[in-house]
């Protein structure tokens, strides 16, 4: 499905954050992941905050006039499955978490580029990308 307008790009960002929030909330309650409970809870809470920040970006920067087209940007490369956070072992959960963080960072980086005609939105998306990079660093050194 194409992501070729303001609304669809921000909506997909919201979907990513909501999906990740749900994943980390379940993972935090997975007994196999007890060692990472606090981290997963923090990541879930942060994703929740990001949802609100994305909604704010969408509210405050929407324009009635499309001045620059957005082309060749679709959802498919950024869709990730993340079932089983409550039943998988810690290693698999960590692996999925790393995959989700990398996906989000990639999405935000590319979306920021695509929507560069709206600098405030682009800056905001870059900011979310930075957050995801930092989260990847947190997850990188962890072992189950």
């Amino acid at each position: 499905m194409p992501l070729e307008n303001f609304g669809s790009i921000l909506n997909f960002a919201e979907e990513i954050e909501s999906q990740d929030q749900a994943f980390y909330e379940v993972a935090a309650n997975n007994p196999a992941c007890a060692a990472f409970r606090q981290l997963f809870s923090e990541l879930a809470a942060e994703a929740g905050k990001n949802v609100k920040a994305i909604q704010r970006t969408r509210r405050e920067n929407v324009t009635e006039m499309i001045l620059e087209p957005i082309r060749d940007f679709v959802r498919a490369p950024f869709c990730e499955a993340c079932e089983g956070a409550g039943v998988l072992g810690a290693a698999e959960v960590l692996e999925t978490a790393r995959r989700l963080e990398a996906r989000a960072q990639r999405y935000y980086t590319e979306a920021a580029e695509k929507i560069s005609a709206l600098p405030e939105v682009s800056r905001s998306l870059k900011g979310f990308g930075k957050i995801r990079k930092a989260r990847q660093a947190k997850l990188a050194g962890l072992e189950a």
Binding site: E4, R58, R59
Partner: protein, 484 residues
């Protein structure tokens, strides 16, 4: 299934009209009835006016900064409910959800601008206008104002006026369009939570009877209107007869001209948005595309290709670029103009008459439509169609474009695409419309600039929002003082 009934909001309470005449509210994408609205009566209007009059004195003596604080709270509440308002708007009006979001944003921006009251409402003073005599001009609120608003922007348009009226100390009555009463009802549910003093802000649903009652009521001091030119003229005349202040914004036939030196690739997105945004149901829609000289063939070809590529469907789908028109009756009216264009001999190069959206077979959809080789005297080049129909009038020179713009009668907005500063200056200097775009399509002025046209597009002196609107809602009382 019982449909929800839209109620009036009078004196801080939700009340049912005493009317037995009900109108249907439709989801235009699905072609389904989704609500009902009572067509209010003279008695409903009288109740609202009395409540607004009762509330006036206490409200006008409330410090401006305190009044502004109500608006700050309202802004926060609208931000919280932003998406819900936008989706309600799309559901009953049909426009794409991004357009609806843009509309809600513009609505909020008017509140933000109005909160500058402590600067914008200030009067002025000059000492020593004569020996030992000083003179002061005070801006004072006037009383009760009302807004009568159209179906194409059910969220935003009342708020071109309402925040300024309130913040300057007046009380207010909104009459939403009977075709789209749900958005303003949702907005008033939020207003209700803010805790304005009873009677300061009221809403009466209805149709002609409510309009006439507002125009006739001696307790109303001024009317803000946005709609078609015939109705704007009627409102203006009636307000003159009953001694009310009035700003009546009417229709349009906006021309978008493209010079041979324009950057077509960079211009196409804003060109398409200008003509097909809100399915052409905007007083700031492009209506006539006027290529100048040799650019015509290439422009028409590229414009038609871009129009054809638009995704049309339910506005709630984020992928949709153009939604349905507001009603079946309006769809038929637009179809009538397409038939008229064919009969007049214009060349139909993109035909949206039989356009179908598979998932929504009952929706009020029209496809993008383009007529080429339209003559300036054809009906489709003179009359407001208010739909996704573009008339291409080929011009030889910039002078021809300016002549075309200045002979439409309407003078709302116009745009020129060009790489030449001299051509741009010539255009913006000589054309009659009051809202001009250069290389940006037909763009709407933001809340801190005035909105309104000239000629047959605007009746009255003071336009919507901008700094000037503080004059519409205040009287300048001049005090000349001498102390012995």
């Amino acid at each position: 299934m019982t449909l929800p009934l839209m109620k009036n909001y009078i004196n801080g309470e939700w009340v049912e009209s005493n009317s037995t005449t009900l109108g249907d509210v439709w989801n235009p994408a699905k072609g389904e009835k989704i609500a009902q609205v009572a067509y209010g009566t003279k008695e409903d209007v009288d109740k609202a006016v009395r409540a607004a009059q009762q509330a006036f004195w206490e409200w006008r003596t409330t410090p401006p900064l305190t009044r502004a604080r109500y608006l700050f709270r309202l802004k926060d509440a609208f931000e919280e409910n932003f998406e819900d308002i936008a989706r309600t708007l799309t559901t009953e009006q049909g426009k794409c959800v991004d357009e609806a979001r843009g509309e809600v944003r513009r609505m909020i921006e008017n509140i933000e601008h109005a909160t500058g009251v402590t600067t914008l409402m200030c009067g002025y003073t000059l000492e020593d206008i004569a020996k030992d005599i000083d003179c002061t001009g005070h801006r004072q609120p006037v009383g009760v104002f009302a807004a009568i608003v159209p179906y194409n922007f059910p969220g935003m348009v009342p708020w071109w006026f309402l925040p300024y009226a309130l913040v300057t100390g007046n009380t207010f009555i909104v009459k939403p369009s009977e075709q789209v009463p749900m958005t303003q009802t949702r907005i008033f549910e939020i207003v209700d939570q803010i805790g304005f003093p009873e009677g300061v802000i009221n809403m009466v649903h209805g149709s002609k009877e409510v309009v006439n009652a507002l125009l006739d009521h001696p307790g109303i001091n001024g009317i803000s209107f946005v709609g078609s030119t015939p109705t704007a003229k009627y409102i203006y005349r009636r307000c003159g007869e009953t001694g009310k202040r009035v700003q009546a914004l009417g229709g349009a036939k906006n021309i978008v001209a493209v010079m041979p030196d324009a950057n077509l690739a960079a211009s196409m997105p804003s060109l398409i948005t200008s003509f097909y945004g809100c399915s052409g149901q905007r007083c700031l829609s492009g209506a006539i595309l006027a290529p100048v000289g040799e650019v015509a063939d290439e422009l028409v070809e590229k414009f038609a290709a871009a129009a054809k590529a638009m995704k049309i469907g339910n506005g709630l789908n984020e992928q949709t670029a153009m939604g349905p028109v507001v009603s079946e009756a309006h769809r038929k009216r637009v179809l009538g103009y397409i038939e008229k264009g064919i009969a007049e001999g214009a060349k139909l190069i993109l035909d949206g008459r039989n356009f179908k959206v598979l998932d929504y077979p009952n929706g009020f959809f029209l496809g993008p439509t383009i007529f080429d080789h339209v003559k300036p005297d054809m009906a489709i080049a003179r009359e407001e169609i208010f739909g996704p129909v573009v008339a291409v009038v080929r011009c030889k020179t910039l002078n021809d474009v300016i002549e075309l713009v200045n002979t439409r009668g309407f003078a709302n907005a116009a745009c020129l695409y060009t790489g030449s500063g001299a051509a741009a200056r010539e255009f913006k200097y000589r054309v009659k419309p009051s809202m001009i775009g250069i290389n940006i399509g037909i763009a709407a002025p933001m809340s801190f600039f005035p909105f309104g046209g000239a000629g047959q597009s605007m009746f009255g002196d003071i336009k919507g929002h901008g700094q000037e609107i503080f004059h519409f809602f205040t009287d300048t009382k001049v005090v000349i003082e001498r102390w012995l």
